[in-house]
Amino acid sequence: MIRNEHMKVAGQREIARNIYELVLEGELADEIKEPGKFVHVRAGETLDPLLRRPISIADYGNGRITLIYRAEGYGTRVISEKGLHGQADVLGPLGNGFPVEAAAPGTKALLVGGGIGVPPLYGLSRRLKEAGVEPVHVLGFQSEDVVFYEEEFIRLGETHIATVDGSRGAKGFVTDVMASLGHEFSVYYSCGPLPMLKAVAEGMAGTEGYLSFEERMGCGIGACFACVCRTDSNDRGYVKVCSDGPVFKAGVVTL
């Protein structure tokens, strides 16, 4: 069930430059059944900024959810100051997440994230591990100062970091690292900027994969048609990122 709840801020900290980890407490947390769903967060209490911000649920459990977001624009900067007010107006859980069951126990799954696409992969990796799947992570960032959750991912499985400027891990893109892995994967999951998703899907062609997309949103629940992407997979010719996604099987959204 979708709830609109004023969730209690249990903690917020800056975990990398302008990257915040926000932990919220409330009943909404118990509604989450799979990783990769998102919440629509009100930035502030006034009519400016007006629109909610879509943020992935990075992790969930025990009546809490964790969001990891980059405070960059107007609204996310307001949210980064939320800790002071003690509560956050959250609508969710929204959308369809990553299918954990797509990976058979005993097999390896590849998780590829870029920048603020990394957070939902954390919750996914935890659930995969619980299900007996071995997660392998390839995480791309701009530079060392915005790398986050490296330790957390390492605890769950093999983890490779790539930075564009080479200041941490391999220099280059996630696809450069993927090319050198040499494992057999039953399935791959990816979240990040569109060019990255495209390159990952091309590199993994032939393997079952799931991609999480980003699009500007209005309502966040499927009513306003702000967030559509083209598809050849249904007779409507489109999917809505907010309510049909944000996770789609590779090949569904025309890249």
């Binding site: 900024p49 007006l50 629109l51 107007y74 009513a223 306003c224 048609f225 702000a226 559509v228």
Partner: protein
């Protein structure tokens, strides 16, 4: 006696609150959140003769206390709306106002004729903020003659009362209002969005893929109130007011300006429960203001 009840051509409204077209789809999504029977009415998404995919993304951009949209009237087309979307809504005790759009008069007429026969459609709302392909793309709603003729053509085939939705992107909105009244309109709805733009300083290009978009939300409220005030004084048909409504005093103010009922658009994205919340808040606010029946508010600024 229900003190929130309002009677309008074709419509008996339990209360004067309804979601505005394009901000509520065909109701399914918000039905996950609350009982749609609570609403005064529902203005469903624009329906065109053929399915439309709409514009490229980004289709929306935030602006100070508002937003721009260029959805491009994406909708599943008349056939699907009549055979799937509207029948689904029949489970709720709520009148539907069908928003009708097109590129030429014949499109509007064809959609209006068929959609007005759906059992739960109690009124049409003609979206005349569309470019007219026959007249070099000029918007139906910016030319009094074209707007009046379109109204007349639709009235001739519609089985239910016809409300015309006025565009604010005109020099004198009362001139268009009078023209569609003369064309036989049973009521007016206003305002549609104001054409606007937002630029990205890094690229120097518009943020919305379409270039321009329609401005809505609290930012447009003063303009909307002024237009509701002017229009309601210059015609004798009822007005449904909208544009930036988000709290109960906005409802009171639009009705005082001359609206008989109001529609809520963008605010549904900010507070997904805004419509039921407004309905619940009205009686207490009316008590505070010494108003017994909501109809006492209608056009009280003119008296």
């Amino acid at each position: 006696m229900n003190r929130l009840q309002v009677e309008l051509p074709g419509l008996t409204l339990k209360n004067p609150i309804m979601p505005a077209s394009g901000c509520f789809g065909f109701g399914k999504e918000y039905a996950q959140l609350y009982d749609l029977s609570k609403l005064g009415a529902i203005m469903v998404k624009a329906t065109t003769l053929e399915p439309r995919f709409g514009n490229p993304t980004p289709r929306v951009a935030e602006t100070p206390a508002g937003m721009l949209n260029a959805i491009g009237l994406q909708n599943p087309g008349l056939e699907k709306v009549v055979t799937e979307e509207l029948p689904w809504l029949e489970q709720y005790d709520v009148p539907i106002i069908a928003n009708v759009a097109g590129s030429e008069t014949e499109d509007y007429v064809a959609v209006a004729e068929r959609i007005s026969k759906a059992p739960n459609v109690r009124a049409l709302e003609l979206n005349i903020s569309c470019p007219n392909v026959r007249c070099g793309g000029i918007t139906f709603g910016t030319d009094p003659k074209i707007a009046g003729e379109l109204t007349r053509a639709v009235k001739a085939v519609s089985s239910v009362p016809v409300y015309v939705k006025l565009s604010p992107n005109v020099t004198d909105v009362t001139e268009i209002a009078r023209a569609v009244e003369a064309g036989g309109a049973d009521g007016l709805t206003l305002i549609n969005t104001l054409v606007g733009m937002r630029f990205d300083p890094r690229t120097g290009r518009p943020v919305i893929a379409n270039g321009t978009g329609g401005l809505s939300g609290p930012a447009v409220k003063p303009v909307a109130l002024r237009m509701v005030y002017e229009v309601s004084r210059s015609v004798s048909i009822p007005v449904i007011g909208m544009g930036g409504i988000s709290d109960v005093d906005d409802v009171i103010n639009f009705m005082s300006a001359g609206a008989s009922a109001v529609a809520v658009g963008t605010a549904n994205f900010v507070d997904h429960f805004v419509c039921p919340n407004l309905i619940d808040a009205l009686p207490d606010r009316m008590d505070e203001l010494g108003i017994r029946n909501i109809t006492e508010l209608i056009g009280r600024s003119h008296r």
